[in-house]
């Protein structure tokens, strides 16, 4: 366990000291929500504002980036060699990739909380009032899943570049299918049904129902989906991870 703590500490250090990643995790989401919210504010009324919509929708999109962070933190040029040494040291292989998942989870949770707090204070995004805790927990579960997904894709493709490319298309697809950028219900029944294949749809719908209807019927299924997917992603990573592939 001591080994694991050391690796985790190093991974966290790597994440928190990269200025570009900090910008990507903090400045980018803030600007994205503010810009989208501001540009569309004219088409909303006074009860629910455009910031209420994008404060949830874009934040879910931002959670997806956890996959990009964990993939890069796992296979980036400068961590490849250290990882290589770990492979040949008496450390459980599971520690090597799982610490990346956990480090990304911590990093993204911290930056996500920060961005959410700023948005709440500056433009007053509705995060569900008293039900805030439920929303927060679901978002954290989602961050964990996407952190695990990034590492899993790395273990499958074994190349950082292909991983980045594949992830960018999967994540955009999840976003569009989940209706984060524009609602899909106007495109007919078939596309509405397909949209449930995207985890974004589950998270988004569950959040909307809690915040605006005080209806928690979708909450447990959404959490369940996240936990199951996370377990599957970690399991697949453990199965496919082969240290020698780093060479």
């Amino acid at each position: 366990m001591d080994n694991f703590k050391k690796i985790l500490g190093m991974d966290l250090f790597n994440l928190f000291t990269n200025p570009m990643w900090l910008a990507y995790a903090i400045v980018f989401p803030l600007v994205l929500v503010l810009v989208m919210g501001f540009l569309t504010s004219a088409s909303y009324g006074s009860t629910v504002t455009s910031y209420d919509y994008y404060g949830i929708a874009m934040m879910i999109y931002i959670i997806f980036n956890a996959a990009t962070f964990s993939a890069n933190g796992f296979m980036e040029e400068r961590v490849k060699n250290p990882n290589m040494r770990l492979v040949y040291s008496p450390v459980k292989p599971f520690f090597i990739h799982f610490s990346k998942v956990l480090a990304t989870f911590v990093f993204c949770s911290v930056t996500f909380t920060l961005v959410g707090a700023v948005l709440y204070l500056v433009v007053g995004v509705n995060y569900g009032g008293g039900y805030f805790g439920l929303i927060y927990l679901l978002m954290l579960l989602a961050i964990f899943f996407f952190s695990a997904l990034g590492v899993m894709v790395c273990c499958v493709l074994r190349s950082e570049n292909s991983t980045n490319q594949l992830l960018s298309i999967i994540l955009t697809l999840f976003g569009v299918l989940g209706g984060l950028f524009f609602p899909l219900d106007g495109f007919g029944k078939a596309i509405s049904a397909i949209s449930w294949m995207s985890p974004a749809k589950w998270i988004f719908s569950a959040c909307m129902q809690i915040i605006y209807n005080r209806d928690i019927s979708m909450y447990l299924p959404a959490c369940g989906v996240m936990v199951m997917l996370s377990a599957a992603a970690v399991g697949i990573s453990a199965k496919l991870f082969k240290g020698e592939d780093y060479i």
Binding site: A23, A42, Y44, G45, G188
Partner: protein, 328 residues
């Protein structure tokens, strides 16, 4: 010239070593183009989706401009916020309509006008984008993001230090950089155009532009993307950082420029920023072409875009030269 062809051939061989990468690129471009074309084709003429709650099933409300779903009771507020319905319309026993919506009063008024006289209603679509401009609008963000990913061999050369050897060797540096640009450009341009035309001829979906117009527009877009990618990779040492910054800038500026929806209301500072964005010039150019403007009217946008592309290229080349070529 030798440096150019050698680098180009070398890039091609490096690409073949990673076949999965090539397949991914083509798959992604196919997906993006197909999405851009079909989303557009599926979109209806309606001004919104409404949930109609009426006492009797047959209420006679039909309009080509309205997507009506009949419900027994009003949908929950979350369905309005998530955008499933733009409004709930409740028909009272007296025959009057009650509108519930979270959208602006402008939309409420529009809907009220339509409900008052569904037969005569004509939406005001003077500023509405046509099909071709919408398609290229969707492609802008995607192609710009792909540019930085596809410039990877130049980024790799820089990250692994091979570029120092190139600079020290008696080869043309301009040829070397030119080859990277041509490689990135071709890998974006050829699949995009081919797939666009395949979809056009296989399914017969409208794409709005003539072959030549599309050629020119996609050419410009891919050139912009290539120049931007070279610029980023020249100024940022680590390829991951360059990719991330590229995605951030591409997403934000494309949204601001109105690649997806055009926003009519903004404030002056934002408006000024938007006016200088190359994506804005590009959309104006595409929109103008589709509306049949003359060359004189289109020329300013065209030259502006070309200017931006040149600025990116010149800055990137100057920076790389300064980094790696020692003064003799």
């Amino acid at each position: 010239m030798i440096a150019f062809w050698t680098t180009l051939r070398n890039n091609y061989k490096r690409m073949l070593e990673h076949k999965s990468r090539v397949i991914l690129v083509v798959a992604m471009i196919t997906g993006a183009v197909a999405a851009a074309v079909f989303m557009n084709a599926l979109a209806t003429d309606s001004i919104g989706n409404i949930a109609l709650v009426a006492p009797e099933r047959e209420d006679g409300l039909t309009s080509p401009y309205l997507n009506v779903t009949r419900l027994d009771k009003a949908p929950p507020l979350s369905d309005l916020v998530s955008g499933k319905y733009d409004a709930t319309v409740i028909r009272k026993a007296s025959g009057e309509y009650e509108i519930q919506t979270i959208k602006s009063d402008v939309f409420r008024q529009e809907l009220a006008d339509l409900l008052a006289d569904p037969e005569e209603y004509q939406p005001d679509w003077s500023g509405r984008r046509k099909v071709g401009t919408t398609i290229v609008g969707f492609l802008i963000m995607f192609i710009l993001m792909q540019g930085t990913t596809m410039m990877l061999f130049f980024a790799e050369d820089r990250e692994h230090g091979q570029i120092r050897r190139v600079a020290a060797a008696p080869v043309s540096f301009a040829g070397y950089l030119g080859a990277h640009c041509v490689y990135t450009f071709l890998i974006l341009f050829v699949p995009t155009l081919v797939i666009l035309y395949l979809i056009r001829f296989l399914t017969g979906v409208a794409i709005g532009f003539s072959f030549f117009q599309f050629f020119l527009l996609i050419f410009l877009l891919c050139a912009l993307s290539t120049a931007f990618a070279l610029f980023l990779d020249a100024f940022i040492d680590r390829s991951d950082s360059a990719n991330m910054l590229g995605s951030m800038v591409s997403i934000l500026t494309s949204i601001l420029a109105g690649s997806f929806y055009s926003f009519d209301k903004g404030n002056q500072t934002l408006e000024a920023i938007i006016q200088v964005l190359p994506q804005k010039a590009y959309l104006e150019l595409a929109g103008g072409m589709e509306n049949g403007y003359s060359w004189q009217e289109l020329a300013p946008w065209f030259w502006y875009l070309l200017g931006i592309i040149l600025v990116f290229l010149v800055a990137a080349v100057a920076k790389t030269r300064r980094n790696y070529i020692r003064a003799s």
